[in-house]
Every structure is written in C-alpha cells, then in structure tokens.
C-alpha cells in the first residue's frame, strides 16, 4: 500500500525492529462526524472556525519581517500583519496551526504512521514527486490567499455557516481539480 523512499528490504527490517505496524485509517464518515464536532466546538466556544493557510502566512511574514522589516512596512497587504512593531505570530490562527501540527504528530505516533516516506503514484520517481508537491503547494498557497482562505478556513468553516462565497469557492476547488485530473493522471495512476 505505502510507497517507500528507501530500499524496501532495508525498511522492512526497520519495521520489524520497532514492531510498529501502521493502523488503518478510521471510517471516513466517522472522521467527518468528529471533524464536524471539532468545527462546531471551535465556532461555539470562540466564534471562529478553523484555518491553516492564515497560520502559514503569518509564520512566513514573521520571517520576512526579520529579514526585511522595511519591505513589510511598504506593502499594504503585509502591514496589517506585521507593520511597525506588530508581531505576526501573535494571532490565534498561528497557535491553531501549531496545534494542528502537534495533533497530527501525536495521532501519527499513536497509530504508527510517523515514518519518513514519500507517497507517490506508481510511475513517479521520488524526486519528481517532491518537485510536483512543491509546485502544487505553490499554486495552493497563491490560490488560498487570493480566495482569502483555504479548504479549512473557507470551504469547511464558511461552508458550515452557509457563506455564499465559501460555497462558490468549494465548488471551484473541486471543479479545478477534476478538470485537470485526467491530464495529470500519470502523477497518480
């Protein structure tokens, strides 16, 4: 099932040594119900939904502000986050992003899924998969800022509270991916 980056024989030895076998993922509907409860909890307690790209954005801006503070103070889009003596990291969304990474790590650890590996289609080399992951990420990051949110902050959160823009956005994401899927099928099949 899983594709390994190293020589499979070598890795198999590792698995036996640590006696860890990756557990199956939970049923998608169960995961969805749990995610829905987390999302509801976030809105119910804080008034805010979930998000991911906002946190990454602020982490980036934080480092930009260290390297080129003058630049931040000249670009209006960046001033709002880190202009003057504002700290880009002092925002709940950054904390939520850190929590997301920790949660993923703990779950991966409990279920034996923390493992250096590269998941890729059968025809892809590891290096080309990395390249395409970076390129795809670039599109994602750019698109997420243009749409003012990613799958978590717009589609999931805005969808649950019935925002018109979030629903239009969600269908656009699926449409974009389905429209291109056939042409890039060699990446995954």
């Amino acid at each position: 099932m899983t594709t390994y980056t190293q020589n499979p024989d070598k890795l198999e030895g590792k698995v036996v040594r640590s006696k860890r076998v990756a557990k199956d993922y939970v049923n998608p509907y169960l995961a969805g119900i749990l995610l829905g409860i987390v999302l509801f909890g976030a809105f119910f307690v804080t008034g805010n939904g979930l998000g991911a790209s906002g946190g990454l954005n602020r982490i980036l801006v934080f480092f930009e502000d260290i390297i080129a503070p003058g630049h931040i103070d000249r670009v209006s889009y960046l001033i709002a986050m880190a202009g003057g003596d504002k700290n880009a990291l002092d925002s709940w969304i950054v904390i939520l992003t850190i929590g997301t990474v920790l949660g993923g790590l703990v779950s991966g650890f409990i279920n034996g899924r923390v493992k250096f590996e590269t998941n890729r289609g059968p025809r892809m080399t590891v290096r080309s998969r990395w390249l395409f992951a970076f390129i795809g990420g670039g599109f994602m990051g750019f698109g997420a800022r243009m749409a003012r949110g990613c799958t978590s902050g717009q589609a999931l959160s805005g969808g649950a509270v019935l925002s018109v823009g979030s629903w239009a956005f969600m269908f656009a994401v699926f449409a974009g991916a389905y429209a291109l899927a056939y042409f890039v099928r060699r990446l995954w099949n």
């Binding site: 998941n119 902050g153 019935l162």
Partner: protein, 410 residues
C-alpha cells in the same frame, strides 16, 4: 443575549485564550490524521473516483457542524451574529478556488492536510508546505498589481438563506439532503472505480444519516431567533439602561467623540430623507428606520473602537433603531440625547435660534424651521469644539468586541 461564543479574552486574557486555540488546533490535526489526510495518494484518489474519502469527510464535517451551529442558535445558546462568516468576494474566491484545485491535483494536498503530512514525516508533505509558503510569498509580492480584482465583487456577510430568500432551516435541510445524495453517489462511484477489496461501509451510517436529517428538521421547526425574539431576551436589562438614561449621550459628548482620534464614530440618522436633507450633522449617514436591520452585518465588521450613535429629531425613532442594533448584539450603540433638536438648541447661533418654533408640530419632529434643504452646509453641522464649554456626564464606555473581524485566513 446567548452565552456563546464566549468572550475568551475577557475570561482568560489574551494569551490565556491561546490555550483554547491550541486544543482546537490539536483536535483538528488529530482528526485529519486519523481520516488519512496525511497521505497524498488517498487525497488524490478522490479525483479519479477511486476513494471518495475527501468528499465524505468534508461534507460530513460541514453538515454535522452546520446542524449543530443552527440548532444551538435556534435554542438561543449561540449568537450567529457573533461568529465569523467569511465575507463573500465572489470572483476572487472562484478564481482562487480554481487555482487551488490545480494545486490540489498536482501537489496532492491542501494546506491543512499538508501540515499533518509534514508532521508525520511524509517528505512530499514537507515539500508541499514549502511550496505553499512560496505561493503565499509570491501572492504577497504581486497582489499590488491586481488589487482591484482582489477586492472586487464584494458582497459582505452574505449567506445562502439570503441568496435564496428562504428560511435558514429550509437551507439546512436542503444542504443535508444534498450531502446525503452526494454520499450515495460517491459510494456508487467507488463501487465502479474503487478498490474492490475495500472494507464494507458500516451499517451505522444509515442511523447517522437519519439522526442528522432529523436534527435538520428540528432546526427547521424551531426556526432562527428573529430580532423581536432577540430583543425579548435582553429587554429587561436594556430597558433599565434606557430608563436610567445610561445610553443617551449629550450633544457635547458626541462633539467630543467626533474629535477623538482613537475612536471611529458612526452617526446613523434614522429620520425621513426630507428631514435629513433640511439639516443633518456633518458625516451622519441617513438610514431609514426600516433599513436599520439590513446594516447589522456591516456594523459587525467595524473595528473594536467603533461607536454608533443613533439620532432622530427627538429620541423616538433613534430609540427604536437602538433597540434593533442592541438586540442584534452590535456593541457600543448610543442615542443622541434629545436628538437633532437638542443638537441645534445646544450649538445653533442666534439667527437659527430665531427659527425655533414655539411648540413641536408633533412627536419626534423637527422643532426648527428651515428655508432650504442645505443638509450639512451649516456651521452648526460641524461646530468647533473649542467654542463651547459644556457640562455633561460622559456615558460612552467601550465594550469588548466579541464578533471576530477577521477569520482563520487573515
């Protein structure tokens, strides 16, 4: 007023509230991981109809959260006005979404799932995260050249019930029905294209679907609170404040507020347009009383240092407008004491005082006669604060703003 969402900063302090966000983030990451969203192959399989996990998880989450949110709102536990509803910028959202779709199928993740992939040491996830950061960087550097598009087709806080002109409950039931139909379709597609050895879908999903649908029907039957319902919930406390005259501010205080640079003062003049045209305070906005409810979402987007002052000729209509906004949880709403008439009595010069009628022609009507509709082109529309030494009891106290002004994507 509904107790939720909680005023976290008041309860726990600025940094204390971060504990809550850490817990929420942790749960979010944990659930994404157990769903299999750290695995790009599982995510990409969605777009070849082999494994519809993405659709199932996303739409189950959306409909479960939606039913719970609107049920809590219907029961008066949660204030829908105080939760973040992503404002609609239609075209930037659609174009951004299409670009993200490209990124999804090429890169195999979305930003949230790539974080979980990176956390579990998936190297493609780590490269994807760096790609996202690079894309965000590129956006920040280029947005100046397409600013106009980025800020176009703005519709504010715009929801599906408003779009369709249907009660919220009907839309909730409709969305649940649509999701269940999509799940049915997804399972059919998996049957055709998917892995034949996949574990059989559990039977309990029928019970879960039925429970969800029943929840949506209950939301439909209870209905969402109207402004009247909301007013009834706060009436005792707020009528006491009105009677104790805690919210009627003296014209002198309004003049001070207008010259206080740390505040944003929004004057809302709810008189008839003809009266407004005869005379109004400079920068006051004319909003007829029946249109006041429509401006509630926009007022919630105002920053925390915004103050709203309602005014009519006397106080009658202004008090009605005040009740509407207070019921809809808008913070920092006040009434101009004695209305425009009192403003004129306080600040008008002798010539204008001569225009004052002996008795008011009616309730909440203008007590000054104007020869021409000059609007704000009178000196009394913008009095010089240095010319007046007025005694008044200041009443404006900024409340903590509870409605978020930016969501998880800012």
């Amino acid at each position: 007023m509904p107790p939720f969402p909680l005023p976290l900063t008041d309860l726990l302090g600025h940094y204390g509230s971060y504990i809550i966000y850490l817990i929420i983030g942790f749960s979010f990451g944990y659930v994404l991981e157990i769903a299999g969203f750290g695995n790009s192959k599982k995510l990409a399989a969605q777009f070849y109809f082999k494994d519809m996990t993405v659709l199932k998880v996303m739409f189950s989450a959306i409909v479960v959260a939606m039913v719970l949110i609107f049920a809590a709102s219907a029961m008066g536990l949660l204030d829908y006005n105080l939760i973040w509803v992503n404002p609609t910028y239609l075209w930037p959202g659609i174009i951004g979404g299409l670009i993200m779709g490209v990124g999804f199928i090429v890169g195999g993740f979305c930003p949230g799932t790539s974080l979980v992939a990176a956390a579990t040491a998936k190297l493609d996830g780590i490269f994807f995260v760096f790609g996202v950061i690079f894309g965000i960087f590129l956006f920040g550097e280029t947005v100046g050249s397409f600013d106009q598009f980025f800020n176009s087709s703005y519709m504010g806080r715009f929801t599906l019930p408003e779009l369709f002109g249907l009660p919220t409950g009907v839309v909730v039931v409709g969305v649940v029905a649509m999701a269940l139909f999509m799940f049915w379709g997804a399972e059919k597609l998996e049957g055709i294209y998917g892995d034949k050895d996949a574990p059989a879908a559990p039977k309990w999903r029928y019970a879960a679907a039925a429970t969800l649908f029943a929840g949506a029907i209950i939301v439909l039957f209870i209905g969402q609170p109207t402004t009247e319902d909301r007013w009834a919930g706060v009436a005792d406390e707020k009528i006491a404040a009105l009677e104790a005259r805690e919210v009627q501010i003296h014209p002198g205080e309004l003049l001070d507020l207008l010259h206080n640079r740390s505040l944003i003062v929004n004057m809302i003049d709810v008189r008839e347009e003809s009266d407004y045209n005869l005379f109004h305070i400079l920068d006051a906005k004319n909003v007829p009383l029946d249109e006041v409810p429509d401006m509630v979402p926009a007022l919630h987007f105002e920053p925390a240092n915004a103050v709203f002052v309602m005014m009519s000729n006397d106080e009658g209509a202004a008090t009605e407008a005040w009740k509407t906004l207070v019921a809809e949880s808008v913070p920092n709403v006040y009434i101009l004491e004695g209305g425009i008439n009192n403003w004129l009595t306080t600040f008008a010069d002798e010539d204008m005082q001569a225009q004052r009628l002996a008795t008011a022609p009616g309730n909440d009507t203008l007590i000054y006669a104007f020869d021409a509709a000059l609007g704000a082109r009178y000196t009394v529309a913008e009095p010089d604060p240095h010319q007046y030494e007025l005694e008044f009891i200041p009443k404006v106290k900024l409340e903590t703003k509870r409605a978020p002004t930016s969501g998880g994507c800012g």
